[in-house]
Amino acid sequence: MADFFHSIAENAEFLAFSNYVNIYGLTLVGLGLILGCFSRYASIGGIVFLSLYYLSHIPYIGANSMMPTEGSYLWIDKNLIEIGALMVLIYFPTSHIIGFDRYISRLLKRKTA
């Protein structure tokens, strides 16, 4: 796994691309979750990002802290907690009660109906 992340960091073009994806991807995920708009896809996207962050810095015994963290973790870190939270949002999509999805889901239903 380390090689994969190193290869991203070492390839200048791919690094620029992944920076771009990170910035705009995160913005879209954030907007989606705040507005309750396509929140299912936003949650999945968020899980993908968080999984990558988690896998690049797995809090394992002997792992030197590569970023300043506010605690001393083993296996479970905030990335993993956030992944769990997003999974909850997928199964209990509150955006259908409060959020744009209230309309969107109905529009989609009308098309499929």
Binding site: I34, I90, P93, I97, G99, Y103, R106, K109, R110, A113
Partner: protein, 563 residues
């Protein structure tokens, strides 16, 4: 069945969606819209927060009125097109000689095989790849001179390994071996020589080479005795050969930034510069390996002894000032493997800490600030740790005064502690640590930055400006001594985002100056003269135990009286 199906409230499942909407009472439609849009104001709050934060950050970082630097980064100029091929000879293929050859693109198949093997084990070890990719300088090594057979053979192997391959690779024509440097200087097929011999031979060989019309790259320090320092300056200027002294620190990119900071006066008046040497291993204390193949048959001891004229200058000085205890202790004509391989430990061949390591630091300061030869030098120290029979000190403190610049430079060295001390330039407004990176810290008592400090925009004593060229991880550092050189900015330079060996850049510059007379080497004979005299002042102050002064007009080292 998806989760959406489960939870989405649908008021009327029998009718289609359109009729649903139209059937809703007005108040319920409004409630629906409110529920959908209720989180939108969060975005507004967020945007406002981002705006406020950016504005705050901007004012907190706005120091452009007091601290402004160019965005320029150093780049490497292209090699001159159609430059002629230069035929090189090397005198001295020991540790440094082989490093210089490698920097010029010639390495022995055995040494490259080691790099190849280690790169196979560790993918991050890119030393071989970097060496393969290192630019071809359009040179050939036609002559190798060493007085030890094994070193000479290694030099020949490196010179013929033109394809930069490991063991078993295809070799080019072998350079000719010369047993005496004078024979090499007489050869027609050599345009320029690299001199990497012990200190007591530097000037003599460089002068003879210049007189023979060969361009000269000579390792530091420039000279071993004081009288020869004047002679070599004269000879180099008269013959007009292209001369480069081996202070590869001249090529370090962070120094360009450091010079800009100093030239713009961003540090305020500089009153004290502290430069140091800290090493803590036998290799760093010049206790080098003794080669198993070395013996009186494979080493030309007679030539090692030195040039008789130089030796006389040395002995004259030592006897005139009652310094016999620093001579020897072995007789000069007595064969000794220790003295051959670890010559830096004896004044008979060496210039000690002063000539070997202080010169790097001094030359860096001279490059940054153009300080010239100091007004005076005072030294102290001793052999405190490596009591192996050496005569040169392993702990040395030298203070140089520059009264016309209102400044002192303090050199402090020990070969028995690795504590990292940087090259620190202390100004009234800020101090700067210079190495492979730069760090500027604003001074809490600064006048220039007073207002910004009071507003809290500048926090004194935390790094205010840092310049880290290229990658910070130096992945090719293998030994403590190498790390020492890397941190002091003596190994790598980053130009246009690429890492270069500074010695490669220094040799490259010299070659380019040979190809184009209008160009000047960055460590030419005048800088070399400053370097050598400064080192000699420090050495004499140590040996004689009194302050040495520089008479600017007469260009003479003058002894301070002991009261």
């Amino acid at each position: 069945m998806t989760s959406e199906d489960k939870i989405v409230p649908e008021p009327n499942k029998d009718n289609n969606a359109q009729s649903n909407d139209s059937q809703l009472p007005e108040s319920q439609g409004r409630r629906e819209a409110l529920k959908a849009l209720v989180t939108v104001p969060v975005l507004g709050a967020l945007a406002y927060g981002v705006y406020k934060k950016q504005k705050y950050d901007k004012t907190m970082h706005d120091v452009s009125d007091v601290f402004k630097l160019s965005k320029e980064t150093a780049t490497i100029p292209e090699l001159q097109p159609n430059g002629k091929q230069i035929r090189l000879g090397i005198i001295g293929c020991g540790i440094r000689g082989k490093q210089l050859l490698r920097a010029a693109g010639f390495a022995t198949p055995e040494s490259l095989q080691k790099l190849i093997d280690s790169s196979k084990k560790d993918k991050k070890d890119t030393r071989y790849q970097l060496f393969r990719e290192q630019e071809n300088l359009n040179i050939v090594l036609t002559g190798v001179c060493d007085i030890f057979d094994t070193f000479a053979e290694e030099g020949i192997a490196a010179g013929s390994n033109i394809n930069r391959e490991g063991v078993g690779g295809k070799l080019g024509p072998a350079p000719k071996r010369y047993r005496h440097y004078q024979e090499m200087l007489a050869a027609d097929d050599i345009d320029a020589v690299i001199i990497a011999t012990p200190d007591h031979w530097h000037s003599t060989m460089a002068m003879d080479a210049a007189k023979a019309g060969k361009h000269v790259y000579v390792e530091k320090p420039l000279s071993w005795t004081v009288p020869e320092t004047y002679m070599i300056r004269e000879v180099i200027k008269q013959t007009g050969v292209v001369f480069q002294l081996g202070h590869q620190g001249r090529q370090v990119d962070s120094y360009h930034k450091a010079k800009e900071i100093l030239d713009k006066g961003l540090l305020g008046p500089v009153t004290l510069i502290e430069v140091c040497t800290n090493r803590n291993d036998p290799n760093g204390a010049w206790v080098y390996d003794i080669h198993p193949t070395a013996n009186p048959q494979t080493v030309d001891w007679k030539q090692f002894e030195g040039d008789p004229e130089r030796v006389k200058e040395y002995m004259d000085y030592m006897t005139a000032h009652n310094l016999a205890k620093y001579v020897g202790p072995d007789a000069r004509d007595k064969f000794s493997l220790e003295r051959f391989f670890r010559w830096r430990c004896w004044w008979d061949y060496s210039t000690g800490l002063s000539g070997d390591l202080l010169t790097h630091e001094y030359d860096a300061v001279n490059q940054l600030m153009g300080v010239g030869i100091p007004h005076s030098a005072t030294s102290s120290g001793g052999v405190y740790f490596f009591k192996d029979g050496r005569t040169v000190p392993d702990v040395l403190q030298t203070t140089f005064e520059f009264p016309d610049k209102n400044m002192t430079m303090l050199y402090s060295a020990t070969l028995a502690s690795n504590r990292n001390r940087g090259k620190v330039i202390m100004g009234h407004d800020a101090s700067m640590e210079v190495g492979d990176t730069l760090t500027v810290k604003v001074d809490s008592g600064s006048t220039r930055y007073k207002e910004k400090i009071e507003k809290g925009i500048i926090k004194p004593d935390v790094p205010f400006y840092t310049y880290v060229p290229g990658k910070s991880n130096v992945d090719a550092v293998t030994s403590a001594t190498e790390l020492y050189f890397a941190q002091r900015g003596l190994l790598y330079s980053y130009l246009g985002g690429k890492r270069y060996d500074t010695t490669f850049l220094h040799i490259r510059e010299w070659l380019e100056c040979i190809r184009d007379n209008s160009k000047k080497t960055s460590c030419g004979i005048d800088a070399a003269f400053d370097e050598a005299i400064t080192a000699h002042m420090g050495t004499r102050a140590y040996l004689e135990g009194r302050t040495m002064y520089w008479d600017k007009d007469k260009e003479e080292i003058v002894r301070g009286e002991i009261n």
